[in-house]
Symmetry: D2
Subunit: 106 residues, 4 copies
Amino acid sequence: MKEALARLRKFRDDRDWKQFHNPKDLSLALSIEASELLELFLWKSPEQADIDKVKEELADVVAYALLLADSYELNLEQIVLDKIAKNEQKYPVSKAKGTAKKYTEL
Amino acid sequence: MKEALARLRKFRDDRDWKQFHNPKDLSLALSIEASELLELFLWKSPEQADIDKVKEELADVVAYALLLADSYELNLEQIVLDKIAKNEQKYPVSKAKGTAKKYTEL
Amino acid sequence: MKEALARLRKFRDDRDWKQFHNPKDLSLALSIEASELLELFLWKSPEQADIDKVKEELADVVAYALLLADSYELNLEQIVLDKIAKNEQKYPVSKAKGTAKKYTEL
Amino acid sequence: MKEALARLRKFRDDRDWKQFHNPKDLSLALSIEASELLELFLWKSPEQADIDKVKEELADVVAYALLLADSYELNLEQIVLDKIAKNEQKYPVSKAKGTAKKYTEL
């Protein structure tokens, strides 16, 4: 994701937008984009969404995820790897296999 | 993100969870995680969020973004790069510099 | 909704919470509660949600809607009636009947 | 909210939309509208949102809340009153006064 992050920083700085990018509003933006992604599935069965639009909305989500991680000087792939390790504890295979229950209900 | 995606696939398959991971519910999960991230800023100023929790919720968002992209056989970095190219058209520097207005209002 | 609003105001003021209730954070809270409601349907078919939990999360959404409307001195029922009148223009029966398309696509 | 609900039912039935209105998609729609409301505050201070747009997005949220409650034959005001009673237990004045902490942290 190094190239994407470099491009996003340049895009932001060319427009002088860093002034707006505090972590609270970046999280808000990410959540709004996630909701626009969700809207592509509204009133539809899962396979009916328009893939080209999914691409764009999903890209927007990830763009804000990269900018938010960057604002805390976090490496996005590293925090995902750390979280998977945590989830392996929360959802042991023996209990979680084949069930969609939340870890609090296992 | 290759390692993260490989680990996520294994995590999912070890638990036999692919059956639940249709694109609609993956988008729903992504949106719910984005909202949990947002909650870390609720009633707070931007700098008051707990960074360790931000890490975890942001990781959850990106994990679902990776799984959703994978379900469509999309490369997450590539779609971000494609979207930046589009946004450079939507938000020309000459119009967008220093303003947080949406492209529809520029 | 007069009784509910009166009770919410008292609940808030007894706890000295008005200081936190600016419209931005109230909207954030509303959105977070909407997402908790949504989580009750995650990985599930529509009829599988736990109704008692739906009640509670839906109540939280409406509580914040009442407080947000109140912060602008808006009457919640009135704005819904006004919006329905608008939607009758946006979605004429002749075009919208039987289709889930957005008005921009009709 | 009786008049609003009656108008919403008629609006829906005139367009033959009940077929789309399962509780999962209604919750999805509610969450999407909540996010559109939130977008009015993005990159802004709380007092900078456009009140006319807040009115409309908030109305959309409440419209879906009414339809969702109706699909379960719930009375929206009653469930809010029931939830306030619950919250009085979760957030006792002696512990919650003047703090924005979640009940799990009190």
